[in-house]
Subunit: 188 residues, 2 copies
């Protein structure tokens, strides 16, 4: 049966349809907490809608807190093991500004908020993306769902990202994000 | 001007159009060298066609050497800093078999060939993808184009991937891949 599947030359990374209309773009999210609460709400709604795991992310302009793009875990929905919340948010932000560099000249600096400390792939993607600030809520050990990814996270990842000029904030609203992770883990 | 760009809810990862018709799928690539030469040719043609950097990758079934999917560097063409050759090959392979796990039951084992040792993001993606073998040609130090990524590759990445059961082969046809990297670096 699998031999019948023709070669594939493109694939689409899409957010679940419920996201449209549930997110207010183009207004300032004033505080770090307000920005993270958006990501946590997306993680919770991803579970409630049955569209993925309890992970959310968002890219903002650093100064204004203007929301550029969001992401939710979409691995199972899209049959794509790279479709972590952070990966979607970063790629959609880059498409929106029409640049593969979120630090490109003529644009304000950008930051990524994520409900859970990123896996090795996403940390590498953060590094390449041009964001200059990474803010996370829950820790990797707060979830069991990312075990395969956690295994490749080097202990000094944060140190090396900081050495490349990326500001890192961890544990922001960790209890709220952790509660969503635990709810998500108990969802059938 | 940038304020005029509306929010984005999906993005497309596509191969350059020249790839279609230039790749023979569904035949066995008998040896490791034959598999790697396909990836190296794609890297060279990506430069020749002006569609990206000198990086190519391909996913094969391990036993038969049947070609499942290919990738070429597409970062600049797609305005997407995650669009490394390995990332495209892995995602297109998963879409083709309709599973986000290349080690899914009912499928043969899969392997990734890449013309250059992967960056931190791609190593994390390899780990998550379900491939059970990773073969690379050039070393990261053979190119200057991946410097931002190289910075986050932990020295023990290979050790940790091997600990998760992924076989790793390095330096296969390194001189041939390195020659393409050097040609690519001198292309305007």
């Amino acid at each position: 049966m699998r031999w019948d599947r023709p070669p594939v030359h493109e694939t689409i990374l899409s957010l679940p349809s419920w996201v449209v209309g549930r997110v207010e773009y183009d207004r300032g999210y004033a505080t770090d907490e307000e920005r993270m609460r958006l990501a946590i709400r997306l993680a919770a709604e991803n579970i409630a809608n049955g569209t993925g795991g309890p992970f959310g992310a968002a890219v903002f302009e650093r100064g204004s807190g203007r929301l550029i793009a969001v992401g939710v875990d979409s691995v199972v929905r899209l049959n794509n093991s790279t479709a972590h919340a952070e990966m979607l948010a970063l790629q959609l932000a880059q498409r929106r500004i029409a640049s593969g560099d979120l630090a490109a000249a003529g644009h304000p600096a950008h930051e990524l908020f994520t409900t859970c400390a990123p896996c090795a792939m996403c940390l590498g993607a953060v590094h390449l993306s041009g964001v200059t600030r990474l803010v996370s809520a829950a820790r990797r050990e707060d979830t069991t769902r990312q075990e395969p990814a956690t295994g490749t996270v080097a202990k000094d990842s944060s140190t090396r990202l900081r050495a490349h000029g990326i500001e890192i904030v961890e544990d922001l609203l960790r209890p709220e994000a952790r509660a969503v992770l635990i709810d998500g883990a108990s969802t059938p």
